[in-house]
């Protein structure tokens, strides 16, 4: 059985700088975790160290600062080196605008309404929705084959976690889904690739993904202001590329 644990990064500056003075948080512009985001990741590290609930064979992380810093904090609890994987990055706003002050971005480009124009992109070299989901689906296929039968931890972004649901449940991938997700900072989402269905063995058919947990944030529920934890949804991921 192959297990994937998808962990969203801790609270990042890009989650709280919503006044237009933040930077577009790509590879260059991501300012990383806030003190609260670090505290959230430390809670997760301590939980994983205490429970031993994940016996990881590999730890992969997005190379965006907010995800990479999260991975650095939790890595000791898993006893694993971190393998960088660019395909775990959030939907890319484009190299041209990466690091730009968001207010300037809005002066230069209109943010498309993706429900009306799903093939639009913020900047000419940014990803559109379909390209993003295709990149993530290709990553899941690669990782699942490379680590068949193993347990893999992926430290990544809300949009990638949304995409896992769309890909494994076979939701239409070229338009914005007709539902939303609200993955909390440092929450865990677990998938397993299985051949058996409860205590009834599946006699035939291809292996099937099972959603085991979504948005498990037990370790941060008693942190102050948890209810204000930065929201994330598929639609928001497309409006400035931040999650």
């Amino acid at each position: 059985m192959t297990h994937l644990y998808l962990i969203r990064h801790g609270e990042a500056y890009s989650n709280i700088e919503l006044d237009g003075n933040g930077t577009v948080p790509g590879l260059r512009g991501d300012k990383g975790l806030t003190p609260r985001g670090r505290a959230q990741a430390e809670r997760l590290r301590d939980r994983l160290a205490r429970t031993g609930e994940i016996r990881a064979d590999a730890l992969l992380a997005s190379t965006y600062a907010r995800a990479w810093q999260t991975a650095e904090i939790i890595a000791p609890a898993l006893g694993m080196p971190i393998i960088p994987d660019d395909d775990l990055q959030e939907m890319r706003a484009g190299d041209e605008v990466d690091g730009m002050i968001e207010r300037e971005l809005l002066e230069r480009y209109a943010i498309p309404d993706y429900r009306d124009t799903p093939y639009a992109r913020i900047a000419p070299d940014g990803e559109n929705w379909g390209e993003f989901i295709l990149r993530v689906g290709t990553m899941f296929d690669r990782v699942t084959r490379a680590y068949a039968g193993k347990t893999v931890v992926l430290v990544t972004h809300g949009g990638v976690i949304d995409a896992s649901i769309m890909i494994f449940f076979q939701v239409h991938t070229l338009r914005v889904p007709p539902f939303a997700l609200y993955t909390h900072n440092t929450a865990m989402t677990e998938w397993e690739l299985e051949q058996s269905d409860g205590f009834r063995e599946r006699a035939s058919g291809p292996a099937r993904w099972r959603l085991v947990h979504y948005n498990d944030d037990h370790h941060i529920r008693d942190l102050p202001d948890h209810a204000e934890s930065s929201p994330h949804s598929a639609a928001e991921a497309m409006e400035g590329g931040d999650s």
Binding site: E53, I165, F168, L211, H213, A235
Partner: protein, 216 residues
């Protein structure tokens, strides 16, 4: 429009969940209710909810299937409101095989696997996959209209929780989905429908299969 929130609670471990000799098809007739372990799971959930107050709700609905109703009875002290019985929260209805030993039902009616036989019931009089999901979708429409803007607890079975994904994700509802679920006994799954900018409101999955009270 304000937020409508649905908390689904799966029943505790039931005799029908445990492989054993003499296991029977567990519809309204055959359901033998919760095991001692199942009762303990639900008591832990009740204690968690009483301690945290996290599932403050306006309405509590429960399936009348014995394993769900028994779960609702244990959880009742959590809320001030009486539990409202709702037959539309039943697990997929097996038909005339209800109450027969599982082995005997298998010999008599075959082992219907919905992946191959989506349009056939488990036994005559039972629901097909499509009719089950339609019944759940109709229930969700009714409940969210009757209690718009409220927080509603639904104590039910795994299949209803899974069918809700198909409805809210707009997946194909006549055949089982490509991915599946691992909903544990006495777990919580939460959905929310809230105003979303100028869009028609859509459903947001807030958590799936929260069983932290069983693991901590």
């Amino acid at each position: 429009m304000s937020t409508t929130r649905l908390h689904f609670i799966r029943h505790g471990e039931a005799y029908s969940n445990v492989p054993h000799d003499g296991r029977v098809v567990s519809g309204m007739r055959g359901d033998k209710g919760l095991t001692p372990r199942g009762i303990a799971q639900v008591e832990r959930l009740r204690d968690r909810l009483l301690a945290t107050g996290e599932l403050a709700s306006d309405v509590v609905l429960a399936s009348t299937l014995p394993r769900a109703w028994q779960t609702a009875e244990i959880l009742a002290p959590v809320w001030d409101t009486p539990t409202i019985p709702d037959d539309d929260l039943h697990e997929l209805r097996p038909g005339e095989s209800d109450g027969l030993p599982v082995e005997e039902a298998r010999e008599r009616y075959g082992c219907a696997d919905f992946a191959e036989w989506a349009y056939r019931p488990k036994s005559p009089g039972g629901e097909t996959w499509g009719s089950f999901v339609l019944r759940v979708g109709t229930m969700l429409d009714r409940v969210t209209r009757d209690y718009a803007g409220k927080t509603i607890v639904l104590i039910t079975s795994g299949g209803v929780i899974h069918a809700t994904f198909l409805v809210f994700f707009s997946l194909h509802t006549l055949i089982p989905p490509q991915a599946w679920f691992a909903t544990e006994n006495a777990s919580i799954t939460t959905w929310e429908q809230r105003p979303w900018r100028n869009q028609p409101s859509i459903w947001t999955l807030l958590r799936y299969n929260d069983t932290s009270h069983l693991h901590g």
